[in-house]
Symmetry: C2
């Protein structure tokens, strides 16, 4: 069983020889070799230059025994093709200089052709897939409609999502038109990524946890359903809604073969809410990678114990690797996940099938 | 039944003539008369000058038919007396210039005598209580141990609480010593506020929602229990843990006559998790105050419907009033809560007892 097979088997709740593991933001600032490239290039420049994106995507795979690579990119990359003026400002994160606030603003947004909007991401995926050659699974990704809408409406990151929620309640028709347009962008982008070689795609609903369950059901779920309904089922679909412990059943119902969960609930409880007919991904608190290795190992063992040896668990963090993390602890965690989850019996069963 | 009686009856789950209502941050930037004072005085200066704190506390009571006043103050005010260097920097929020990172830092923190540390808050409470004279209940407040610890350890507001969680797992003994010291500060501060005239006190655990339920149970709950166990029961105890939908049962078990909840769960579900043997406070999303009044009224009616006319509901937001809110909508909301919750039968029953 090679790593790509292990990862994809877990996505489909098939037996594996050990629990596959990858980490959100595994390609990132905690790695000195990433910082060396970042020192010479802007963030958007790195995303838009396939050689750099490929290099950064593969960096963590060279160091660690990870079962999957995730293409280096950003959820906001498709926005300029919609007519939005995107910039990453030093230290301030992303900014949309012409935010969407009115129904007329929504109507001006253009549909996206990924081959024109993000050709560099597709090129990076093709190259990485070729280089990996089964040595790890390849994951593509996109931002979910709510999360993209929150950036587009607020004009950047937000704390309370005032304008976004205000549009929902004050002009629900405009909200639904916007979310539907964004769902189409997600579906197009993920579809193109699958065609370019992504074996799994993750939909990131990073900020949807600010909504009540009732508002999620009314204003978000139909649009997430629209994304998953349009995706090619040859790739595994991972659905990550951050901070969504209060509405995991709704999130699961919205779609995804794999529901990725944050650390707020124990994995056993989260999985029982999601339902054992779905795979789960998670859910170590990323801060644990800052802990001494004995405590880190205890917490890894706790996540695996709560997964209960059930088929369909992909080990991950509950959010991205923090910049202050040491590469040593990431390597230790990956090694421990594999060692503590080795299944002799299951491996035999796997051989027999 | 005057407003103070109405508010305090609801805290004790006794019948009321209509649902009492107040709003977190009801004294704040959305009011032009607040901004007029703030334009001439620093934030800490306003807190530390009883005449200004009294004026700002009473401003919303002059405009709106609120059932309670909350003293104008800040949860970080007791910190300088512990030996911490607190500043509010223009636009950047609070900063602690000598953050606590080690066990030795923890051991250097001094206990707090509220009559020396926050005499101005106590003075403001005495004056407001006299001026209100039953026209509204008076609420005091403090930051809960976790939330205070997060400011003290991170050195200000935080996104991931890395240093705080790292101390928990890397040096649990130091963490527990710090949290215990902070629990004592909370208990002293709230005790002094009750002695100065606060008829209810609210413990704000604003950032505890970043923890898993298991970490809350191990690292936070014992310290919150310590606070409530030490408080005079002549005042009502309100416990607000923000973003804690995933651990409401733990929060309730930690203490409080009233459990304040954010908007993420419907009030009916939140109350059934909390248990009907506790009062609840909440839970309109503050963003709804930015909506057109017909939508705002629908959502207010929905909260009241979910409260089900049960004794022991205090209407509030799920978080503070946003600065961009109009005073008109706050007034409309207060009026609608009272009008939609008027209970003829209960008022009669109240008269008969």
């Amino acid at each position: 069983m090679n790593k790509a097979e292990r990862f994809l088997a877990a996505c489909r709740r098939q037996p594996v020889d050990r629990t596959p593991v990858w980490m959100m933001r595994q390609a990132g600032r905690y790695l000195p070799e990433y910082r060396a490239i970042r020192a010479r290039h802007g963030f958007l420049e790195m995303c838009r230059t396939p050689e750099l994106a490929v290099e950064v995507t593969l960096q963590p795979l060279r160091r660690f025994d990870l079962d999957a690579a995730i293409v280096f990119a950003d959820i906001l990359l498709p926005l300029p093709a919609m007519g939005l003026d995107l910039a990453f400002e030093k230290g301030d994160g992303p900014a949309i200089r012409n935010p969407v606030r009115t129904a007329a603003d929504v109507d001006r947004l253009r549909p996206v052709d990924p081959t024109e909007a993000i050709p560099y991401v597709l090129e990076a995926l093709r190259t990485v897939r070729r280089e990996l050659d089964g040595k790890a699974a390849l994951i593509g990704f996109a931002g979910a409609p709510f999360t993209l809408a929150s950036y587009i409406i607020e004009g950047g990151a937000s704390r309370h999502y005032e304008h976004t929620k205000a549009m929902m309640v004050a002009d629900p028709a405009a909200w639904h038109r916007l979310a539907e347009k964004l769902a189409d962008v997600c579906a197009e982008v993920l579809g193109a990524q699958i065609a370019a070689g992504a074996q799994a795609v993750q939909l990131f609903d990073s900020w949807v946890g600010c909504l009540s369950r009732a508002d999620y059901a009314e204003f978000v779920r139909p649009h997430v359903e629209r994304v998953f309904a349009r995706l090619d089922t040859s790739a595994a679909h991972i659905h990550f809604a951050n901070g969504a412990s209060h509405m995991l059943a709704e999130v699961r119902a919205a779609g995804g073969d794999v529901i990725a969960v944050d650390w707020r609930l124990g994995l056993d409880e989260a999985w029982s809410i999601v339902g054992h007919d779905r795979a789960v991904q998670g859910n170590l608190d990323p801060v644990l990678l800052l802990a001494p290795q004995d405590r880190l190992e205890e917490r890894i063992a706790d996540v695996l114990r709560r997964a209960g040896g059930r088929d369909g668990h992909i080990f991950n963090l509950g959010h991205g690797v923090l910049p202050m993390t040491t590469p040593e602890n990431v390597g230790f965690a990956v090694e421990r996940v594999h060692a503590l989850s080795r299944r002799t019996a299951v491996a035999d069963a796997g051989d027999a099938t």
